[in-house]
């Protein structure tokens, strides 16, 4: 049995906004569609930016990637603001419980000897790398074109700030809220030889001009290799060495990467499928940055995990690139 409440039915004049109707037909639209498509101003800008007079305010030529329609970059997660914050709020609730439980049971004290030092040396410095990722995604957000891709870059940028803050909290748990472990990890990031390669690569990425190249370097190449090394292989090492509880503090990053990969993989695939020129360009960027980043990560990977680690991470990257239609 179903019950049916009688409501007054009024016939609408139209189902959705006209630009949505032009794209998807005269039918009710999703909230993602109405919040995303054609929201950005396209034409008839009044003034050239003083800070870049050769471009319009919104200008697709800030990257060498060319798209007939920049709204092809549909986010498979269909994140508009409301969907995004509600999804992340669920993740943070789990993280909050994990952190609270970890602290309540004082699980840091249960770690084997010497483990804290390894976490400070290998995991906590990533907070600076995440800060770089924040800058790079904000760059793609602000120089990118069309609401579809720029809003996703903004969400990514804010996520990276959040992740940097979770990593910092791991440090604060270790040092009992003095900040000493963060200072030590920052020293490693600034001076330790194993971190200098990747710090140099991040700094270089931050001054790279083409925003789509920045997206490829950061969100495709670096993020994949970093995730494989730190959140897959180092995570496994922690488990194998009696420090599996740390996994409670990095669960957010694990779940986040799965979620984010859906978007960045789709983005890469769409850009590559658009034209042979795009594909060739993406392959060049991927190859160049893969070389730079692999070399940079090598001493870190060897010291942290041994000599096979980086090759394993690279093969994971290659698989994803193949799936996105590159190098075939």
């Amino acid at each position: 049995m179903t019950i049916e409440i009688k409501t007054a039915t009024l016939e609408p004049v139209r189902n959705t906004y006209a630009h949505i109707e032009r794209r998807f037909g005269d039918k009710p639209a999703t909230r993602y569609q109405e919040a995303t498509y054609d929201v950005q101003s396209e034409k008839y800008f009044h003034y050239r930016p003083l800070w870049q007079p050769e471009k319009e305010l919104n200008d697709p030529s800030r990257t060498a990637i060319k798209m007939k329609d920049w709204y092809d970059f549909k986010d498979p997660r269909q994140f508009y603001y409301g969907a995004y914050v509600q999804q992340r709020a669920k993740m943070q609730e789990v993280a909050e419980n994990n952190y609270a439980f970890f602290e309540k049971r004082n699980l840091m004290a249960c770690l084997p000897d010497g483990m804290e030092a390894k976490i400070i040396k290998y995991l906590i410095p990533l907070r600076h790398l995440e800060q770089g990722a924040n800058l790079n995604n904000m760059y793609a957000c602000s120089y990118g074109y069309g609401t579809a891709i720029t809003q996703a870059c903004l969400y990514n940028g804010m996520d990276r700030l959040g992740i940097a803050q979770y990593l910092s909290r791991i440090g604060l748990i270790i040092d009992g809220n003095t900040g000493d472990s963060l200072a030590e990890a920052k020293q490693a990031w600034m001076n330790d030889a194993i971190w200098q390669g990747i710090r140099a690569a991040v700094e270089k990425m931050i001054i790279t001009e083409d925003w789509f190249e920045v997206l490829v370097a950061q969100d495709v190449v670096l993020d994949c290799l970093m995730h494989e090394l730190f959140y897959v292989q180092f995570d496994q090492w922690l488990q194998d060495n009696g420090a599996q509880d740390i996994g409670m503090l990095t669960e957010f990053m694990q779940v986040w990467a799965k979620d984010n990969n859906r978007w960045i993989d789709a983005t890469l695939k769409i850009a590559a499928a658009e034209s042979a020129e795009n594909k060739a360009l993406l392959e060049t960027w991927v190859s160049d940055w893969k070389q730079v980043i692999s070399e940079a990560l090598s001493p870190l990977a060897v010291e942290m995990l041994g000599s096979d680690a980086l090759a394993l991470a690279e093969s994971a990257l290659d698989k994803r690139l193949m799936k996105a239609g590159l190098f075939k």
Partner: protein, 499 residues
Amino acid sequence: MAKKLNIKDKYRLLTRDLDWEFSYVDRKDAFPFEEFEGIKITDWSKWEDPFRLTMDSYWKYQAEKEKKLYAIFDAFSQNNGHLNVSDPRYVNALKLFLTGVSPLEYQAYQGFAHVGRQFGGVGARVACQMQAIDELRHVQTQIHAMSHYNKFFDGFQDYSHMHDRVWYLSVPKSFFNDARAAGPFEFMVAIGFSFEYVLTNLLFVPFMSGAAHNGDMATVTFGFSAQSDEARHMTLGLEVIKFLLEQHEDNVPIVQKWIDKWFWRGTRLLTIVAMMMDYMLPNKVMSWKEAWEVYFEEAGGSLFKDLARYGIKMPKYAETIEKEKEHVSHQAWWIFYTHGHAAGFHTWIPSDEELDWLSEKYPDTFDKYYRPRWELAKEMEAKGERFYTKALPQLCTTCQIPMGFTEMDDPTQVCYRDSVYNGDRYHFCSDGCKDIFDDEPEKYVQSWLPVHQIFQGNCGGPDVENVLSDFYRMNLGEDNMDMKGSPDEKRWKQWKGVA
């Protein structure tokens, strides 16, 4: 054991300490726009975080707000909430909002994302990034709030296309284009301070209060939901101004010039709010004049008293503006009434009760200068000769409003100013707009003035009708013309079962 951290230090570690000194590239290449405006930043670490919100808290609080907001939107549309508005004329204020204001939220998102990447100080950067994502929230929730109205009323459907093209929408569009085209510090003074801090109570609040007074549950719920975001934005705007003024004394005259410019630009933009409050709201909140007195003269006055210790003075032309509050709403609605065939919303003659309300609220000017016009319009309408002007208006090169404002000491004389630049003559509605042009003519000669563009043949044609229907994509006879006899009015009567 070392001392534990207080909240302020903890927040510093969770944001400011994430940054590092670059060793492998020149930091100036990463943040290249910090110097060209002449602003001197000696020490970014002196930046005081205006609010201390970590991302986990941000997600949590904002998600709670979104959940409640969308529950109301769903209930509103399920129950045909549009039937509860005070009068169908009210919906035209929403059309003006969606076509004129929501796209500005989008530009604010873009502008704050830009400075949220470009500022060298991580504290300022993070605060701007949070405002960027808030502004994206606002444009998207506004689109969703209006989505239901769009299904039942004309004039909402092509808001984005219209914002890029329509003559009066170039006023708000060019305002934000101007700020975004400026350097990062001018953007912050323009939008963060002048707009969000000084003038927000005169833009955002009147629309939301209008919704509250006119039975518009969807919009007013958005307004309440956005209130805490706006409060954060205001504290950021104030911190920016204090930071710039405290960093170096050479910043003071630059900041003063920007305040003068953006205050004037802002008041011109607020003309649409003035007219909305006085003419478009069937249930009035307060008159524009009263709003101006409360929110600018009193609140703004005490703000500028506070800023006096830095050497900042009241914005230039504040005295002219004080006189304008008696006139601008009447002059603006008259422009729209007479150009009602070319507007994307409906216009109308105020009812007799409304005319009396205006007489009461504007005892020194309304009966003397403006009521007679409406009495004439009423006579003409009664004879079946509802007046529409045939001419296209001349636009001010700076604010892009039709040149219909008068000399404030002589409301019968239209105000004309002009400047010659590179052999061409440019026209302005006021001394304020002329000053802005004269200071940066190379910027304002680029203005995409809609009427010039029509005459140059860049907007289709040959007739105005073709421009409206083909280039603006207005549905003629539906979106435009008088409220009387409009499809909006007919449908409303059907829904309400009145003849």
